[in-house]
């Protein structure tokens, strides 16, 4: 198993953010993590990379308890593309992507050919080779996000976590990055867990979906099993139409302007 999560709980102060989560993620699959704002998706990813400590429960990464990993071993196993990259200093794009090789390079060693290859390949995949020598502070938001994506790809880990990693990207770059990630899943048996707000994009790329609602797992399974109007209504309180759509060759969701579910809205805390 890539991840095994048992009875995981976490709270900021008294308010529980994640409570009693249990699931397993198999290697070689692309998982989509869906749910409304504030349902605990980012917190869950933070728990999976040990940025936060669970109040309860256990996480096993590749069948070994997460807390038994050294920092470096964990960094060689899981990479994260975070939501809003914090960039304060004008590192050049190539130097920044090279930081993804940090867990592989000894403290006072220079990068090897292998490191350089991984960096160049990652920069090509994220289409940032063209500004390899430009300070990252001079790039637009979407370009910065592609640079951070390239850094995570250079990290070359069996497990990759994406927190809305394509939210700032144009549709061409979203498709090409998700496609190359997908290729890593299919060809090298990697595991990807990606937070999406675009349900249709998730349906195109994911093997499995996990739907979260108020810190709990609402449902999980294949796109075919999980994605239907009833689930979406329960999780997002929105009326939608879910159909097999021939152009994309996948299930897709259709919205309409007056689709808010008033009864459900009233039930929200």
């Amino acid at each position: 198993m890539a991840f095994t999560v048992e009875n995981l709980s976490f709270a900021y102060g008294a308010a529980p953010v994640v409570s009693g989560l249990s699931f397993t993620l198999e290697p070689g699959l692309f998982y989509g993590l869906l749910g409304p704002n504030g349902c605990g998706k980012t917190t869950l990813l933070d728990l999976l990379v040990r940025y936060r400590k669970p109040a309860q429960g256990q996480i096993r990464l590749c069948d070994k308890p997460l807390e038994r990993y050294s920092n470096r071993d964990q960094a060689r196993t899981v990479a994260l593309v975070a939501q809003n990259p914090e960039i304060h200093f004008p590192y050049r794009v190539k130097d920044l992507v090279m930081m993804g090789r940090h867990p592989y390079i000894g403290r006072f060693s220079s990068p090897t050919v292998q490191d350089l290859n991984a960096v160049n390949q990652a920069m090509d995949l994220a289409d940032v080779t063209g500004f390899a020598h430009v300070p990252v502070t001079e790039l637009s938001g979407g370009e910065r996000q592609r640079v951070m994506f390239a850094r995570a790809l250079a990290q070359d880990t069996p497990v990759l976590l994406l927190d809305e990693a394509t939210s700032n990207l144009d549709i061409r770059h979203s498709l090409s990055l998700l496609d190359s990630v997908r290729a890593g899943v299919a060809e090298q048996g990697k595991t990807v867990i990606s937070v999406f707000h675009d349900i249709n994009l998730a349906a195109l790329f994911c093997d499995r979906l996990l739907l979260m609602s108020r810190g709990k797992l609402h449902s999980q399974g294949t796109v075919e099993d999980v994605l239907n109007a009833e689930t979406i209504r329960e999780v997002y309180a929105v009326e939608v139409l879910v159909q097999d759509e021939p152009f994309s060759g996948s299930k897709q969701v259709f919205y309409r302007r007056d689709g808010l579910d008033p009864e459900k809205e009233a039930l929200r805390p």
Binding site: R50, Y51, K53, F89
Partner: protein, 351 residues
Amino acid sequence: MATDKPRARTGKGLGFGWLLSGSCLALVFLVMVSAGLGYIRITMADVARAIFSLVSPDSMVSEEIRAVIVDVRLPRILASVLVGAGLAVSGAVFQGILLNPLSDPYTLGISAGAAFGAAVAIVLAPGFSQVSIPLSAFAGASATLFVVIFLAGSGREGRGGLSSSNLILSGIMVSAILAAGISFLKYLADEQVSVIVFWLMGSFTSAAWSHALVLLSVIVPGFVVFFYYARDLNLMTFGERSAGTLGVDTGKITVILLVTASFITAVCVSVSGIIGFVGLLVPHMVRLMAGPDNRKLLPLSLVLGGVLLLAADTVTRAVLPSEIPIGVLTALIGGPVFCYLFKRSHMTKGG
């Protein structure tokens, strides 16, 4: 479109090796020049002989010149070089940890703590000794550091690091309280008030060999610690979450670097009084020349901080008709330069 010949360096400026050796040469040259300047002018050759007499006693230089160079000027020169180096390199580290290119040792309230400690010593022990002021300044700086870390460190879950905005806010709060305390001490101080004011403005007039040795014994190991963690510090400038997922133990390294940098600042301030803008301007200038990589930034800041502060001290000591406090000089020159850099930095970020 990705160009097909991307490896061509759009290299602006000189390589790191040239910059470092150039700054080291500049430092040595400036030390020689500065030692020759002053009330008594001494030629470069005699300066060299006098310095050489430290190692081999039977060199051909008059006892008078030797005394001026070795006993009077060198301790002051070394102290200003070391304080400049210490403030600049710890400034660079604070900027990396606080994720803010415009912060410096003073943001954390360390200097206010040192000043308060010194003011207490001046008021309580009016026949002020060479010992009580630096010791008390150092105690004030360390106590401030612990209070600031305590205030900033409470509500953090996870790996137990310190958030940078919390650190800056705690630093500002503690500084404000200490500033009020200093004002109160000035009010109590009567005739001692001029001593406090002079100390607050910073000066190397009373620098002795013992000061230089204390500075050296703190700054050298401190720099080794900084350089050891330089690459981790690079990663930490992208935030704790990001650095953590790349294998950096951010909580531990934040505390180690913060304590070391504050320790260096405290020792520097306790020797020289308050000297602003060195810790801010030098790393900023170095970043413009050599980029933000801490493996280059830290050594260059160390050397150029020494160059800058020695130059400033030489100007007040030997060039200006009467000596003005060095802290005033650095603020008068550094302040406007900093304003310019600040304005330019957010102009280029596009508002």
